[in-house]
Symmetry: C2
Subunit: 402 residues, 2 copies
């Protein structure tokens, strides 16, 4: 069979497995992304071997993730961001600092190289807002103070996570002197600031004129412009030594507040539905499952998972302790699922050769476990006051973790 025939067969298997597993996990009230990762582990080269490793798919995955991060950026409402307030900002910052610090300490204790430690730290910073938002919505608590703080902080977290990744992916290039590190940090920050400031003003100034000039319809022009900027920023970020996804993420943010953003989000929906499930299955397929389950790799993976949860619960909890223990706990647990962004950061480290295959697998494990346990735990914490008639059932930890 030709190369393209093999790729189509792989894509068929990947996509079908993703959709099937995603659906099964949705029925189990679990995030679809967990199902997709597990499906990838099962059909990947290390277990069933239905999908083989291929250079095309590796590059294709990096293309998928560019669209994933573009959409993540696009869903951030920058005007809403200013209203997030002090409490959510404190939660976000503490929820980045503590897990990052914990990871660095663990990796130092394990004697791992500094570059790898930085990536693990970065992977532990970002919160997956989608997973927690669904739990809050299921419980009918999207309008509460806890929900507002979690969602605001999670958005800030994505931005902080990308900033951390920008610096880390520069640093990880090699052992650097102090002044080189400063230059790198300055470069990363300059990219982000220029991208947002110049990009935003350019889009705002030129797009209305562009609409008038062109013969195609407005949504279509905006779509073409957005995709062009997304590719352009991603390539630019790679050229200056950052990761492509950082460019894609900030390209998304630029377009998040244009007047036609809702149409643009709708246009991106089917691209997202096509590419992102394939991406997560591929990320699962990267995991060497037998090795992950070995005594050399699994314990550290579980420790990383524990630190990921403790870091958020303690960090975010401390920053919101003034709200009382229950709300502080809910916020800490609500910030714990890592989902997409942690995986994406691990992938960047893996493809730059800085993160080893073992550590990559441990981070995927951490993403899966935090994405499964945190929502269940959050349901337990938030449910009792809603249904005081049956507190025993809802607070059984056994059920929560099933």
């Amino acid at each position: 069979m030709s190369e393209s025939g093999r790729v189509l067969l792989d894509l068929f298997l990947l996509f079908a497995a993703a959709k099937l597993a995603g659906e099964v996990f949705l029925r189990l009230r679990q995030p679809a992304v967990v199902g997709e990762l597990l499906a990838g582990m099962i059909i990947g080269p290390h277990l069933l071997g239905l999908v083989s490793e291929s250079e095309f798919l590796a590059t294709f995955a990096e293309l998928c993730v560019v669209f994933l991060l573009f959409v993540v950026g696009l869903e951030i409402d920058p005007t809403g961001l200013w209203r997030v307030g002090r409490q959510a900002s404190a939660v976000a910052v503490m929820g980045v600092v503590l897990p990052f610090g914990f990871a660095m300490l663990l990796m130092k204790a394990l004697d791992r190289p500094i570059g790898e430690s930085l990536f693990v730290g970065a992977a532990l910073t970002a919160t997956s807002v989608g997973i927690t938002a669904r739990v809050l919505s299921d419980l009918g608590q999207l309008g509460t103070r806890v929900a507002h703080i979690i969602l605001g902080a999670a958005v800030l977290d994505d931005i902080l996570g990308m900033l951390v990744l920008a610096v880390v992916s520069g640093l990880a290039a090699g052992a650097l002197s102090g002044s080189e590190i400063l230059v790198l940090i300055a470069e990363a920050l300059a990219f982000v600031v220029l991208a947002i400031v110049l990009g935003r003003s350019a889009v705002h100034r030129f797009s209305p004129g562009l609409y008038r000039m062109t013969r195609t319809s407005n949504p279509s022009v905006l779509f073409a412009l957005a995709i062009t900027v997304c590719f352009g920023f991603s390539a630019l970020a790679e050229v200056i030594g950052l990761a492509a996804i950082i460019g894609a993420f900030f390209a998304g943010i630029i377009f998040a507040e244009v007047r036609e953003a809702p149409e643009l989000r709708r246009s991106m929906e089917s691209i997202y539905e096509l590419l992102v499930p394939i991406f997560f299955v591929l990320m699962g397929a990267n995991v060497d499952v037998p090795r992950l389950l070995s005594m050399e790799v699994l314990p550290v993976g579980l420790v990383i998972t524990a630190l990921a949860i403790i870091g958020k619960v303690v960090g975010c909890g401390l920053a919101s302790y003034n709200l009382g223990l229950r709300e502080a706990m809910a916020i800490g647990v609500g910030m714990a699922p890592r989902g997409e962004v942690g995986i994406v950061i691990a992938l960047v480290g893996l493809s730059k050769g800085v993160v080893s295959s073992d550590v990559y697998s441990q981070v995927i494990l951490m993403s899966i476990l935090t994405s499964i346990f945190a929502p269940s735990l959050l349901r337990v914490i938030l449910s009792p006051p809603k249904e005081p008639a049956a507190p025993e059932e809802a607070s059984s930890p056994g059920e929560a973790e099933s």
Copy 2:
């Protein structure tokens, strides 16, 4: 820069060039696809060299074209097809037979191998319905008898073209005995018939149950199912020795008549807008422009173009001669633009190693020229009766070809 960084930079250039050139050509009242092909020729490796040849992009192009043909199939209204009638069927069949025959005769006269001749013949059969439909719509003539016949016949043409390609791509695999040829033809026809009959009944029987079972929304389930079938049929077509696009095309037809087809078409719009312009720029970039313009390659390219136009005008004209000379001419000319499908067939031949680079370039030239000239000529033929005050201007052939 990393492999993925280079790919992103290429995609940025390809997409930006596609959208810019497409827009310019729309303003010149020319099909966007012509602008995209020319843009590819200019930025491709043979002229400016801004985009280099890469294995990834070659495979990516074959992925893009799968979605292109899926959408082409999806836009075919199978229930409307039964109403096309005898006249349009005759136009379609004659418009396939004559250009195919002309191409075979020319290639025989040039002493080219039989496999290559078959592909050139196949590339000359299919009509690009989109280009002519736009002209008819511009002239406000979409409701006329001529328009109905052209659009009906063009749809049949796509199906006949894919059937021809199915047989040809099997045949071109090598010199075969008479019985092997019969087996191949039977296999191709069996694939198509089974795909449509079994696929249609499966989709109709199972999709309502699927909607009820799943937790995601109906359009989203249908989208997942359609993409799965599209990948599956494409891979299957490759496995049995046909081209992936044949599977994609018939997968599209299967979903063209489900109740939610309009939502599915809308979902595919942004995927189409993302991938198809990139595809055409890549197809342009494959053309060795200096060589195409050399005296060895250009004259044959022009002869192929002439035969492509004469074949449709004579074939379709004869089949509709009973409508009078003017309408018969309009139908013949309206069927002449080859656009997408001719290019796609040439690509299949090129990637199977059956079509030489020179002949590929000649087919692209034919697609470009028929897509430019046929609409202009059609405007001339159809305009006079609309504005009888200025017949001189509109019928100047000089203007028509500008």
